[in-house]
Symmetry: C2
Subunit: 362 residues, 2 copies
């Protein structure tokens, strides 16, 4: 079972073609393909082309509108609520992040809460849009419930990621992008494929017992908030996931908590949903709204160099700065191509057949 290696460009062209096939216009197909591939090049394989067929199935089920009228429902000089009109999250999110950036240009910061959207790929891609404008970018999203609150056995929150991108000068930017759980669901899926156990502290079984079974979610178990258990701070991970849920969905009018819509098209929608679709939250802060940009960047360089030179523990070569692994992966994958596991290659081939697109990725 060898991984196939595809170039960024060929995967991009294929993804673009698929988004065109489901009805996106050229601009939206470009935006969506770039956002989706942003995950693959950075090594977040669970959120890239691996999900392409999932988006198509959502479109087939009528849950994604490929010709959305994305619009501002309400705004102030520094805020907006955007209705994504059930568009691809991969299109809605960059649109909303751009609104945050535009507001920051004018009044220093911009904050946009989004309803009526769906899965937006990786949060970090959208947060990083702010970097080229010398802004700090923030992105988060709620997601369908897989995570229990501390002391609970009921799935109430998604893996609700937070991304923060901060520009530097000579140094590459600081880019944090993480699920508010101990481990992201994608890491469990890797263990499932390999038939391996999970470390204690990632999941619990349906009765709330600690478990190492990587398949626990298939039998009523749940992911644990960052911190794993109360003694190790899971109430903090639960609070973080809750804040993401409230900023993304309660502020915007999306569906929150256990009512967040599921990604797999075959999973029925929750009953009595209190809002529309998934929610996201974006922020942009102009660094020169706080201090001169050059001064800030000089100190960020100093911060990054100091942390990268912190004394490593025995057995570790160096201390990393958030964003280092993904940036190194991007350099490698843009040069050497993107490995895709066989099941995902098969998935893409089936998409090619379905839409009668030439399969010429290799």
């Amino acid at each position: 079972m060898m991984d196939a290696i595809y170039s960024y460009q060929s995967l991009y062209n294929f993804t673009y073609a698929i988004f065109k096939q489901i009805g996106c216009n050229n601009d939206d197909a470009t935006t969506a393909a770039k956002a989706l591939l942003g995950a693959d090049v950075r090594g977040i394989d669970s959120h890239g082309v691996a999900r392409l067929s999932g988006y198509v199935r959502l479109w087939e089920a009528g849950r994604i509108n490929s010709k959305p009228n994305i619009h501002i429902k309400y705004e102030t000089p520094s805020t907006a609520v955007v209705d994504g009109d059930a568009g691809l999250g991969l299109v809605v999110a960059p649109h909303a992040m751009q609104i945050a950036i535009d507001k920051a240009e004018k009044v220093g910061t911009g904050w946009v809460s989004v309803c009526n959207s769906n899965h937006f790929g990786i949060a970090g891609y959208h947060a990083m849009m702010a970097l080229e404008k010398d802004m700090i970018g923030i992105a988060m999203t709620n997601a369908s419930a897989l995570v229990v609150p501390t002391f609970s056995i009921e799935r109430m929150l998604g893996t609700n990621p937070i991304a923060v991108a901060i520009p530097a000068g000579e140094q590459p930017p600081f880019v944090a992008d993480f699920a508010t759980t101990t481990a992201a669901n994608g890491k469990l899926e890797i263990l499932q494929r390999k038939n391996e156990d999970a470390p204690l502290g990632w999941v619990q079984d349906k009765e709330g017992n600690a478990s190492t079974n990587a398949n626990e979610l298939k039998t009523g178990g749940a992911l644990l908030p960052l911190g794993s258990d109360r003694e190790h701070g899971s109430h903090k991970g639960y609070a973080l996931g809750s804040i993401v849920d409230i900023f993304s969905a309660v502020l915007s009018g999306a569906s929150y908590g256990p009512w967040a819509p599921p990604f797999p098209a075959y999973v029925p929608m929750p009953e009595n949903m209190p809002g529309k679709g998934l929610g996201h939250f974006f922020g942009a802060m102009r660094i020169d709204a706080f201090r001169p940009a050059d001064e800030f960047k000089h100190h960020m360089d100093n911060w990054i160099e100091r942390f990268r030179n912190a004394k490593p523990a025995d057995g570790y070569e160096k201390v990393l700065v958030p964003g280092d692994p993904e940036r190194e992966m991007e350099l490698i994958r843009m040069k050497e191509g993107i490995p895709v596991v066989e099941s995902i290659s098969d998935d893409l081939k089936k998409l090619a057949e379905k839409f009668n697109i030439e399969w010429n990725l290799l």
Copy 2:
């Protein structure tokens, strides 16, 4: 060794008198005493009157200016940088949070980064200032380095707390307030007093080995970021602590990372500090800058009720919403008084003697 029980009012009066003695004017002494006691009533005993003598020692060492000229260094419609002029953090923080609130009144949100400050008590107290204005409040601060980055043995970050306060309608507000470490330093101090071990995952020794020694910080060990180790997501806690450090100190021009000034007056200041004093970061977001306030509050009530009614695991009575334990503690302590351990009572008595204030707390 019995705890003494003091009323809120008597502890407040005493604290106010001490702040007056070190030179604060009436307004600042009121602001500082309220902020400090905000920790005691909420049960965060490590951050309340237990620190009063520490603030006095900082003043004696010339590191706190009791007559500060707190001023805006730079601003845009939605942002400001505030120079605390080495004032008490307990005074500087409410002042800066008020600026964030005033900006939110005008343009929807306000964001204030603060330099040249020092310890501000509990983050939650400042975040909660936004609630009565129907705003979401955010507060964070950097602190002297006790925490290692993932893979490191060098203390580079403080416990760098984050607080987020979100108003609701019929329900009490959502108030999260947590250190970005697995356990706060105050919890270690409690174990030290009781001569008990810490759970694995709270600290490491000076070589980076896992340890259960609650005194590990006294011999070169360190606190661990939320997540404890790489396998359980410590890189996420490290990223969160870093974001707090950068927003609070790199944005404002305060001292960051390992250069953050220490709280104990006997600890020498770090060499080559890259900025002035400690840094904080505050945010205020008007909820009606996103959707009508009544609508938002109705959905927050629904969110809170749904989470409080999530199925508890065996052995747990109920699922908590962030802020529940502290609010229950406040109700009890405002009625029954605030217990103070003997060593802290002695500390306060010595302050009374030093300033020739009548000791009539009981």
